[in-house]
């Protein structure tokens, strides 16, 4: 594992057992099905895909909120499976989370002061007998996330704040333990356009100042393009393409990546009306019964006969750029010859 790698996951899988009833046989739902990823120190890796593709489950596995069916997770080079109590304490401080909806993840009956200091105490970042230190740290965090004057916000309750302000509290709480990795699951998806830009700017600034890495889970490709260093595109529990964000979005080696980008409207009438749009047929198949061969083949506009029977291998088309498609290498070389 490279010196700069913070988190690494190998062949991670999570199957849920569903539909167990008197007459029906229980069935597996393949929520995450063999995902390998890494996050380097101080970078943003975006996990992008449509609903149900397994992005959130991957995040929850990393946060230890869900136990994997198979595969392993390494944080700072050590497998979570072999963690001691002391390792878990470091993990809880080092890996934090920001949810989409801070409305439901912040206790409505507690003040912001309580919410922030409780996070420091329970993670052991600040001992419980150092209440003054915790209060000062809470104040500093509020200023950092742009909630000033801090005194005013310390005394407030979550429902007295706007959506954007609550999301800033969620970020301050995550920062309170001095993490080096924050898993952010759709952190700006429910925010309005103008507030979304503010919060994205804040995340960029915090990363620059503190060197914290983000696993940024999102279904919004336009947001991902502007905030991520690298991106992993998921479909039916698998990563179909991953690599540096600009290269992945420009080369579009995997047909699913190409379709996602093509489907995303661009806020410019001339560009968006003149681009050719790929419209995929149907919807995403059920993760209980994923297609044989390439999981994307029933909807793929580039599929050939072998796609229905042979699972495409994941190949490295360029340094750090992987794709799982039978024609990945051809596609990448035709992109290269065009540029």
């Amino acid at each position: 594992m490279a010196e700069t790698t913070l988190l690494e996951i190998h062949d991670l899988a999570k199957y849920f057992e569903v539909g167990r009833s008197l007459f029906k046989k229980k069935q597996n739902l393949y929520a995450v099905d063999g995902v390998s990823l890494y996050v380097r120190k101080g970078e943003t890796l975006a996990l992008v895909g449509e609903s149900g593709c397994g992005k959130s489950t991957t995040g929850r596995l990393i946060l230890n909120l869900e136990q994997p069916t198979a595969g392993s997770i390494f944080y700072r080079g050590k497998d979570l499976a072999g963690y001691s109590a002391a390792d878990w304490k470091l993990y809880r401080q080092g890996v934090q989370v920001v949810f989409q909806d801070s409305h439901s993840s912040l206790n409505p009956r507690k003040t912001i002061r309580h919410i922030l200091t409780a996070a420091m105490f329970s993670s052991g970042t600040i001992p419980r007998n150092k209440a003054q230190d915790a209060e000062e740290r809470a104040r500093a965090l509020l200023s950092e996330v742009g909630l000033r004057p801090a005194e005013v916000f310390l005394a407030k309750y979550p429902n007295e704040l706007s959506g954007g302000q609550r999301q800033r509290i969620g970020i301050a709480r995550a920062l309170s333990t001095n993490p080096d990795l924050i898993v952010a699951d759709e952190p700006v998806s429910s925010l309005d356009v103008s507030v979304k830009a503010q919060v994205l700017n804040l995340l960029d600034t915090l990363q620059k100042e503190k060197g914290v890495a983000f696993l940024f889970i999102s279904h919004e490709l336009s947001v991902v393009r502007s905030i991520a260093d690298r991106v992993a595109v998921m479909y039916l529990g698998k990563v179909v393409e991953s690599g540096p964000v600009a290269e992945v979005f420009d080369a579009k080696v995997h047909p699913y990546t190409e379709a996602l980008i093509s489907a995303t409207p661009i806020p410019d009438p001339d560009t968006t009306r003149n681009k050719k749009r790929i419209v995929l047929p149907g919807g995403v198949p059920s993760p209980m019964d994923p297609p044989k061969g390439c999981p994307f083949h029933p909807r793929c506009f580039r599929a050939e006969s072998k796609c229905a029977t042979e699972v495409p291998p994941t190949v490295e088309v360029a340094p750090g750029h992987h794709a799982a498609c039978h024609f990945a290498e051809e596609r990448f070389s035709s992109y290269e010859s065009m540029t």
Binding site: Q165, V193, S194, L260, I266, P267, G283, V284
Partner: protein, 338 residues
């Protein structure tokens, strides 16, 4: 600029509009007071055009949609004053029994989330037939329903299916079918693709575009997504805290917006095409105020980067700026200092 769109706009502005809203005030009664989520001076949907109504959450977009039908999801909301002329009939003045006929026959509504709005124990076909019958259309109801299902890309089997048997994208197609089944000239679509995945959203947008062309439909499309506006609208109205702040053709709005709020929205919007990662985005400061704390004067003055003395005191009227209409003091000769 796309020449096709230009011609279309020019040729239709001569016709009587399918929808014209004037001096509309919609109110919601809450204990002890009444709030005004909508105060629209004028909004026009010309025949055969797609008009976008864009704004952030809480700006009053959905309340405007309900006002057009004069049908609200809560008894606390009602139209206070103004006129809403729909194909020659004022929806505010006309009696309720007339209105029932007009809804459906003159305007169809498409909502965001159909998972909740269909009756779960009645087949899709029955629910669509019911629509026809309540609007006084008894002949060949079944054939009509089958043909509209076909038009939205659904096979005849869907007729006998129940809502839970359909995917989100299919349900949205049924929603569009239900809006179209009485052949209204106008569709009001409130965030029709917001609940959908992006690849399914693309299918629905393509469907709306082709039906619009086939039927020469007029559409009032309500959305917060500037990409969708750029994609399918001819004209755009930008809404902020219940009021229209700017309107004009889609090309002018995107190329040279004249209102600071529109400018801020466009600069803050991310794009899949953006080149720089981690580039600081231009963001409007603060957030949209609630209806109980509406600022004096220009409602945008506490967030605007160009606020002047007058902005706090007096509400600006509309000024024509390069073919756009913008409600902003910057365009008043006396107050702008260029």
């Amino acid at each position: 600029m796309n020449p096709n769109i230009q011609t279309k706009a020019d040729s239709t502005t001569q016709l009587e509009p399918i929808l014209e809203i004037r001096d509309l005030i919609t109110e919601i009664r809450v204990p002890g007071r009444s709030l005004r989520p909508v105060e629209i001076e004028r909004l026009v949907v010309p025949r055969g055009q797609v008009v976008g109504l864009v704004g952030e959450s809480g700006s009053g977009k959905s309340m405007t949609a309900y006002s057009v039908l004069n049908l609200f999801p809560t008894a606390a909301a009602s139209i206070h004053s103004g006129s809403i002329v729909l194909d020659g009939v004022d929806m505010v003045k006309v009696r309720e029994n007339e209105r029932v006929k007009i809804r459906g026959n003159k305007v169809g509504m498409v909502f965001q989330d159909y998972a909740l709005s269909f009756n779960p124990v009645i087949t899709i076909g029955k629910q669509l037939m019911e629509q026809l019958l309540t609007h006084g259309r008894h002949e060949n109801a079944k054939a009509k329903v089958l043909s509209v299902l076909d038009e939205v890309g659904l096979s005849a089997e869907v007729f006998s299916r129940y809502p839970h048997e359909l995917s989100g994208g299919m349900l949205q197609r049924v929603g569009i079918a239900s809006a179209l089944v009485c052949d209204p000239p106008l569709i009001v679509a409130d965030e029709p693709t917001t609940a959908l995945d992006v690849t399914v959203q693309a299918q629905i947008l393509e469907l709306l575009k082709s039906i619009q062309k086939e039927r020469n439909l007029s559409i009032l499309l309500i959305t917060h997504d500037l990409g969708i506006v750029a994609e399918i609208c001819d004209l755009v109205y930008v809404m902020y805290v219940g009021q229209i702040v700017e309107h004009g053709t889609v090309h002018k709005i995107f190329k040279s917006p004249s209102h600071p709020y529109t400018q801020g929205l466009l600069q803050g919007a991310s794009s899949v095409q953006s080149v720089g990662t981690h580039e600081i985005r231009v963001a409007i400061q603060g957030s949209i105020p609630g209806l109980t704390e509406i600022p004096s004067g220009c409602r945008f003055h506490d967030r605007c980067p160009h606020t002047m003395e007058i902005c706090r005191l007096q509400q600006p009227g509309f000024y024509e700026v390069d073919g756009l209409q913008a409600a902003c003091w910057l365009h008043d000769a006396e107050h702008s200092h260029g």
